[in-house]
């Protein structure tokens, strides 16, 4: 099989095939390789194992993930339980995570028209973490964040802030600050 391909190129090619992104001739070539080459089949199997592990890692995540509103809808459609908070710039919200919640989703609304780069600053009251160059859809005027579930479950009473910044090569400006007043889940 295509011995000139580096592993990363092989991964991308196999994954494109798996997702039906290739045209008929390209897909046929991948399938020929898959059947003629045991290493290629093993590589695809590893890729699918990695995919499954990433799915599990998201559920147990210890890091924030920036996703799209459409992805949130797909999570809902798959039967997961989401607790969602919608905030406008400058707003604060009382928040928590229930034992049955799979994810908490923060919808950070902001005027994104014409913005080229958005950075997120996450402030937990002790340290600040900056995530540069977020993926976002300007038309949606929203940045969608899934905070780390494991971290949220470990929190007592705490105030966390997120700030969105519009960044250009020469400057940056605040798009919005969002405050989350977290309380431990109380069934009452």
């Amino acid at each position: 099989m295509t011995p000139h391909l580096h592993d990363a190129e092989l991964d991308s090619r196999l994954w494109s095939w798996w997702l039906d992104e290739l045209d008929e001739a390209q897909a046929s070539e991948v399938e020929e390789d898959l059947f003629a080459c045991g290493d290629c089949a093993a590589r695809l199997r590893e890729l699918l194992e990695l995919r499954d592990s990433v799915r599990n890692a998201l559920r147990d995540s210890r890091f924030a993930s920036v996703v799209t509103p459409a992805f949130v809808r797909r999570l809902q459609a798959s039967g997961l339980r989401l607790r969602e908070y919608h905030l406008q710039p400058g707003e604060s919200v009382p928040c928590t995570i229930a034992p049955a919640d799979d994810f908490v989703v923060s919808h950070l609304h902001a005027p994104l028209e014409g913005v080229r780069q958005v950075d997120l600053v996450y402030d937990d009251g002790h340290t600040q973490h900056r995530a540069p160059h977020l993926p976002f859809d300007a038309a949606a005027n929203e940045v969608t964040v899934i905070p780390p579930v494991a971290m949220l479950r470990s929190l007592g009473t705490a105030t966390h802030r997120m700030r969105l910044l519009a960044v250009t090569p020469s400057s940056e400006r605040l798009l919005g600050e969002y405050t989350f007043n977290h309380e431990r889940w109380s069934p009452g």
Partner: protein
């Protein structure tokens, strides 16, 4: 089913050599009395079962259907080999693929063929090689995902979570599908490098 015509029509074939292990096994089965080289047949099944399963998973999107496909393809191919009906054993991989493609089409059309096959030809398959799959170190994966640049992590997670193609993801992110593929490619490479210990994810 028109296996010979499928085989003769063929598709672009990956070059195989005279030393190709699958071709050697096919020759041994062809040259033996029907069912006479059980070792070659078992090894043939061991080699091709995982490949057919992956193909079936992709085409049929079902573990159970993929497992059925493995059985059915191997039954048919061994039947042809035992009957001496495979003329070019050096192209056996293409023959197996052609059979798998045709059976996927048949599976969608009707489900009756499998019962007829199993009535006339029995085959004990060893479990495929998924049993030697290894669990990724969860903590290491968390570290490597966290170390990815934000956009790469987002694309990897959204692409992997429910097998979302680049075109769909691009439309949702407001970027071209080609850009999504580039970000995905980089993310996958950084993730692999980190997991294999040759990089810190970027």
């Amino acid at each position: 089913m028109r296996l010979e015509s499928l085989y003769a029509r063929g598709v672009p074939v990956t070059a195989t050599t005279a030393d190709d292990p699958a071709a050697q096994l096919a020759r041994r089965i062809l040259q033996a009395t029907p069912g006479g080289d059980a070792q070659a047949e078992a090894e043939f099944c061991r080699q091709f079962a995982p490949r057919i399963r992956l193909f079936g998973l992709k085409r049929l999107r079902s573990e159970a259907a993929a497992a059925d496909l493995v059985q059915d393809v191997l039954l048919l191919v061994l039947q042809k080999l035992r009957a001496g009906a495979v003329r070019e054993p050096e192209r056996i991989a293409s023959f197996v693929l052609g059979t798998a493609r045709q059976l996927c089409i048949d599976t969608r059309r009707n489900g009756g063929r499998r019962e007829r096959l199993l009535d006339t030809f029995s085959l004990d398959l060893e479990p495929d090689d998924t049993s030697d799959s290894h669990e990724l170190d969860a903590a290491r994966l968390q570290h490597c995902l966290q170390a990815l640049p934000e956009r790469e992590r987002a694309v990897i997670i959204m692409s992997f979570y429910d097998d979302c193609p680049a075109e769909t993801l691009g439309a949702q992110m407001g970027v071209k599908s080609g850009n999504v593929r580039v970000i995905r490619h980089r993310g996958l490479k950084h993730l692999r490098d980190c997991l294999e210990g040759s990089g810190g994810a970027q």
